[in-house]
């Protein structure tokens, strides 16, 4: 299987930047006349950006493997972009998590709490700055025209790195050095065991809480009214949060064990499809139709289909996750001779 992760990265890398920009714009505009529809839309965009950014971040490592050491490509610039991404990604996900809490508050209390609004405002502003820098440092890798130094014949020496603005030089202080970050994760086996244990506990919480809702919609456990079952969703989201964080850390620890594994990319495809499935459930009115279901009432066919795909995709996630190691050498990246 040959996959061009660089192309995929170039496709996906626009979502975090443009998405955060649009989300922030709508969010700020929502304060004019307290427009709740606009605000809710901005939360949905932030959540979607958090989801898509998982793909952007992971494909970046594939793209890196493909272009590292190539003539005209600076390893120092790649390292700087990678360090920037490793800082930014947590804030993109934080903004998404806070926006998801806001969406839950819209659902439960018809409007989000004040602390949520302040937190989203703070997190999304910071994310906007960080994501702009990550985009810019990434662009400089393959767009020499935006670099300050024009010589592409050799690697950029540390002191000849493109000039950073005042904001960039401040952010820089907080950015990890990629190799050190990776080493910190894999050098401690207890940290590794802890990450894996949490990833599996997260798995059990997600499959349990999402699974029971899916089974109910499919027509099993029909004695259960649907609305109270949906109260487990914050727990499912907490499990998902744990697994995104622990999954990211495991991946950063030894990316070379993951990027050549077909199972990892299939798992990420399943994750993206789960995002689409959730969008189909919540944004097309299906959720509003099933929410009032009382004990014994049947869910509409659309809800059943969504429930079946959700269960199927979660078990696909487990399956591909389990085969990452066995299939860790099944993807050939163009231009990479040996792994």
């Amino acid at each position: 299987m040959e996959v061009n992760l660089a192309h995929l990265h170039l496709l996906l890398n626009h979502f975090p930047i443009i998405g955060t920009f649009i989300g922030l714009g709508l969010f700020l505009a929502s304060f004019v006349g307290e427009n709740e529809d606009l605000r809710r839309a901005s939360f949905i965009i932030f959540a979607a950006v958090g989801f898509l950014t998982i793909g952007t971040f992971l494909t970046g490592f594939g793209a890196q493997a493909m272009v590292t050491g190539k003539p005209g490509v600076s390893d120092a610039l790649i390292a700087r972009h990678e360090g920037s991404a490793m800082l930014t990604v947590w804030f993109v996900e934080l903004t998404a998590a806070l926006a998801t809490i806001g969406l839950w508050q819209y659902h439960r209390a018809s409007r989000p709490a004040h602390w949520t609004l302040s937190a989203v405002l703070f997190a999304s502003l910071l994310t906007m700055v960080l994501v702009a820098r990550t985009g810019n440092t990434g662009g400089e890798i393959n767009h020499p025209e935006i670099r300050a130094t024009q010589d592409t014949s050799q690697d950029v020496t540390p002191d000849a790195m493109p000039k950073e603005g005042p904001i960039g030089s401040i952010i820089r202080v907080f950015e990890p050095t990629p190799e050190k970050f990776s080493l910190a994760i894999v050098s401690n086996k207890w940290l590794w065991a802890f990450l894996m244990a949490m990833h599996f506990i997260g798995l059990a919480v997600i499959v349990g809480t999402v699974g029971i809702l899916d089974l109910r919609m499919m027509g099993f456990l029909k004695q259960l009214p649907l609305a109270p079952l949906h109260r487990f969703m914050p727990w499912a989201m907490a499990g998902l949060g744990i697994n995104i964080v622990t999954g990211f850390l495991a991946f950063i620890g030894q990316p070379e064990n993951y990027i050549y594994s077909g199972a990892l990319w299939l798992k990420m495809l399943a994750l993206m499809l789960l995002g689409l499935n959730a969008a189909a459930f919540y944004l097309t009115g299906v959720f509003n139709r099933v929410q009032p279901l009382q004990a014994g009432e049947d869910a509409p066919m659309s809800a059943k289909l969504i429930a079946v795909s959700s269960l199927f995709l979660w078990f696909a996630m487990i399956t591909f996750g389990r085969y990452i190691q066995l299939l860790s050498n099944t993807v050939r990246l163009p231009g990479v001779t040996s792994n």
Binding site: K189, W190, W192, A193, M196, A197, F200, I201, L203, A204, V205, I206, V207, G208, T209, G211, I212, F220, L221, Q223, L224, P225, A227, P228, L229, R231, F232, W235, A295, F315, I318, T319, G321, R322, Y323, Q325, L326
Partner: protein
């Protein structure tokens, strides 16, 4: 430490070797996959019932959750079978690791808790509030020991002393 010779006999058997060394997608990793799916059944369903007993989703009637116990016992059965298969693949590795015995202990406590909880749910005379009052401490036990069992399981690959009987002989200077 003396490791019984029988572990060597098991390890040398064709079946054990096949599970361990076959490049087939349906050998070791397939068993491991079903061990994880079994985990998601037994721990996932337990988590939902535990959370409900501890006060999450209070509007949800408790009694119908009785049917989730079938999922839990199915998950447990899958994991006993796949667990034995994994043990056949690596007897020395598992049996010489203290963490493995902790894992078994945690599972034993968790399963006893699950059985007690199942008996409570089967008691038709208990109202939902009574069931909740009686089930709370069981729910805490259940969450604690299932999560402990999962964690111990994940620790096994980081804590084993001998991968196989041969390595035991080498490291102990017995061959």
């Amino acid at each position: 430490m003396v490791v019984p010779q029988i572990f060597n006999t098991v390890e040398q058997s064709a079946f054990s070797t096949w599970i361990r060394e076959s490049p087939s997608l349906f050998a070791f990793y397939f068993i491991l996959l079903f061990h994880t799916i079994g985990l998601s059944f037994v721990v996932g369903a337990n988590t939902v019932v535990d959370l409900r007993l501890l006060g999450v989703a209070r509007a949800l009637p408790l009694k119908p959750l009785k049917r989730l116990f079938a999922i839990m016992w199915t998950g447990l059965a899958i994991n006993v079978v796949t667990g034995v298969l994994l043990l056949i693949a690596y007897p020395t590795k598992a049996m010489t690791n203290p963490v493995f015995y902790f894992k078994l202990l945690f599972i034993t406590i968790a399963v006893i808790t699950m059985r007690k909880m199942n008996i409570l749910f089967d008691d038709a005379s208990l109202s939902d509030p009574a069931l909740m009052a009686k089930g709370k401490s069981l729910a805490v036990m259940s969450l604690t020991f299932w999560f402990a069992a999962v964690s111990a399981g994940r620790l096994l690959s980081e804590t084993y002393r001998f991968l196989n009987y041969h390595q035991y002989l080498m490291k102990m200077g017995l061959s």
